[in-house]
Amino acid sequence: MNYAQFTALLLLLPLASFTVLGIWGRKYIRQASGIIGTTVLLVITALSLYAAYSYFLVDGQTNGTYQPIIALQLPWLQFGYQQLSIDMGILLDPISVMMLVVISVVSLMVHIFSLGYMKDEERYSTYFAFLSLFTFSMLGLVISVNIFQIYMFWELVGVSSYLLIGFFFTKPSAVAASKKAFIVTRFADLGFLIGILILGIQCGTLDFMSIIERLTNPQSEAYIGMTSTGFLGLSSLTWALILVFMGGAGKSAMFPLHIWLPDAMEGPTPVSALIHAATMVVAGVYLVARLFPVFQLDEIAQNIVAWTGATSALFAAIIATTQTDIKRVLAYSTMSQIGYMMFALGVSGYGGEAGLGFTASMFHLFTHAFFKSLLFLGAGAVIHYAHSNDMLHMGGLRKYMPVTHATFLLACLAIAGVPPLSGFFSKEEILLAAWQGNKAIYFIALGTAGLTAFYMFRLYFMIFWQRDKHYHSDHGEAPFSMKLPLLVLGALTVGTGFIPFAQWVSSDGKPFETALHLDFSAAPIAMVVAGIGLAYSFYRKENDKPARLSAALGSLYRSAYNKFYIDELYLFVTHKIIFRFIGRPAAWADRNLVDGTVNGLATSTENAAGAIKGWQSGKVQHYALYFFGGVLVLAFLFIYLWK
């Protein structure tokens, strides 16, 4: 079937909607802009689902393997070196089609939710224009055929995220957060860019399929070239992959490049649901998955991926147990769950059952997108009702917000990994892959699973149970436009676990069977039950146990509460070191040394001129004197030196 036309619409429609809303939205079609944006997304969702249907169920397979389909490939910029070019195109393969569905569905839900949530906002049309821009960039990112294409859309999602985090631009904290997000990810992208340069020049192509084809063939010139050259004891291939992964780690908020994500919560809550929970932040995982056939060739790079993921998962979970801002808890939990996806790729083998980690990672990405965006939208509804972000100001909300409460509970159960919700299945597969691949990481993941259950239910009980804080809200729970997405996502949270994911998405395109191992599941489930039980006894009703525990933990608790002082460390490096020891001296040297030389030259010329200008006195006597003096000197020279 011909995918080219309708998949091209996936990009053109949101771009058109961004242009129209961006240019004319403010003045002419303010009221309609929400409807326009949402309608466009509705069409896109239909197209994505149709693409998924036809790819997975009709004609994606040849000989029992899902083959990548290049629906479109246009040369965009050709470089005068080998076959290097930036192509704009559409690549359909299991992971990109899966991502299309995730992005369009979550984006549609967020659009609908925003119709109600952002209703009174002054820059209503701008908001929807930015959402369209983001959707365009994110869709373009996942269907990239070319590593440079992905880099371009990568930057574009970055800037959409920047614009949306800073949406409430008169708030200094929002401005600071938007800057921080952009600059930290830019720093990571620097690594990505250099990685692309190494890969591109050494492989002689920037095309994903060709890169993978060349590097997976051990006889190829590219592979031999990249493994035989090196720097500081690591081969070029390892360097390239680590640097590309650095870009991914920045976007996916992996330790230690995660510092922007909690602050990014300054953006409107639906934006956090879309960008900072479900789609953009998993771009790093997607990038590694896209190059997975190459990553699995290199043990060092893959171990770095695995350990970065595992560290982030645990680290973020520990911090999440101490935070009281509802969105920040969710942000750290996102970081932690992405850590799971990341290390699943890191411990995975390639091909068939050995590639379980790959499938599990993608599966978790898929299920997580729905339940995490549900959590964020639920949090948005709560914030909308309670007019606060702080859990300490909440309590007893279950009575006032029945729909939100029910769906939020579902999502909490799913993220904790309670069967038979979607999160259970995907997390189970990840744990199994870790058990097979790396025992140390398995135990970290197991512990993190318990922590996850604990902090999610801490959040849940503090918001919906505990003492009723009596709200003076002038509106009901939420308008229908806000409840509908909660219900749809709630249904997805329950349903997506039963999708036979390994049938569709696998590291080499060949379907395989996964089965539940009840004996294996016992340990994780026990951890989860323990976590929830602890949260119940601590937070179901107000008591002094949490305070006693945190006092007992002392400095450990304080460090976690202060996010292990990573922000302070960065501040120190940027302000105290880079600004003070590089920026200021550079500016000073320019004004004083370099320009000082220029001015010095000018001054000395002026002084010299001042010194000799008296000679042009205009007095005949002076000139006669110089004349005779000159004659004398010449005569002297002539007589004594000429000989």
Partner: protein
Amino acid sequence: MNLNWLIIVPLLTALAVLPFRQLRQIRLIALAGSAAQLLLSLVLLRLFLQHPEAKLSGAMLFESSYSWFEPLHINLHTGIDGISLSMILLTALVVLAGVLVSWKMEKMSREFFFLLLLLSAGAYGYFISLDVFTMFFFLEMAVVPKFLLIGIWGSGKKEYSATKLVLMLMGASALVFVGLAGLYFNHPAGEHTFSMTVLANNPPTADVQRFFFPFAFIGFGVFTALFPFHTWVPDGHSSAPTAASMFLAGISMKLGGYGVLRVATTIMPEAASYYAPYIIVLSAIAILYGSFATMMQTDLKYINAYSSVSHTGFVLFGIGMLTKTAIAGAVIQMVSHGLMTALFFAVIGMVYERTHTREVAKMGGLLKAIPFISTVFVIAGLTSLGLPGFSGFVAEMMVFIGSWENSGVLHRTATIAATASIVVTAVYILRAVGKVIMGPVEHKAYFDFRDATWNEKLAAILLIAGIVAIGMAPFLINDLIAPGTEAIMEKLSASTR
């Protein structure tokens, strides 16, 4: 088409404003004249694209030659290839936008527009010259009026800046002249010629090249803010009136890059390869050091001026890398930076006209009060930090790819240093945007500001259109300049054989 129209039209317009006294009449004439320039260059583009030879070779098209001064064999020899054509289009856009933003130039308006148009005639003459002497002549024509523009209509320590700028550029011109004279007297066939094509087809011997290359290179380099001869840039830009800043950064700085490419590199390819490591080191310093110095600036014009030092560093950096991709990237960077910096100066001018300050710390929350101007500001900033979809990204990436093709340690180290600037650029751009455009509204008076007027809007839209056209469809400009860069590469590879 006879290319000399490109000189005649601006000159005639400049003369046409002289009899008038009213600003209303003068600006209309200037607008009509600069619109005619743009039209003319678009016609030229169309003719060029239709020309059967345009895609085949890097040969000069639309050539014509008139004897100028026979005893020294100086001719007004003109001709263009894709590289010169893209510079011509850049000039036309920037001049038109410059006239539009000077719409309310009350002070000595006649003289102001006269000088501005004279500058543009010089720039066109420079870009179409195939005779290095007339090229030098037009180079001077594009320098001297700036002294008056800054000295009379400028702000701040304008006399100091004007003097400094002209003295440094004159010094640079002197160096250029030594280089050109060296070429004239050392033609291997004993023929005394200023003709660029003759010189390039039969380059001087290696010794002569190595002796005279530094003169020509440093001379042209000063124009394009070669480190450490860049200090005229911040002072000159910040004192100049808006349109002059736009011209200065948008076009004048490109005269240097174009000269390095056309004269120094094409005519003396052997020396260019010989001195390439020095070029790379100096321009990498300019890129990184310029961006760090920008980070500490507090005045919007100084920010853009220092960032120009950093961005034009990419031009020389690309040329020094001596690969086709990098040189093409350098050419695109010239156009891109020209448009972008003109846009930035234009919008800084618009902000200054309203707030009467350029101090970043004294402004805030302009987006609330003047959304159009603020949006343009953000677009200029995002172009500067290399966002895909805008021209800067294309140019920088081409330079990076082209640089990485060289596998030497020096090349790789310098490239990594240059790529690091993309982070620093993001820092200083977002600091400025975050304070000036976003944040709490600094003064209540902001709400009385009038958003952009039609002429300001038109100027911004013209420049943004150029930026977006390159950013979205880079293959167009890449195809346009490819034969020209190919021809330069042939000279370079012939010299190393």
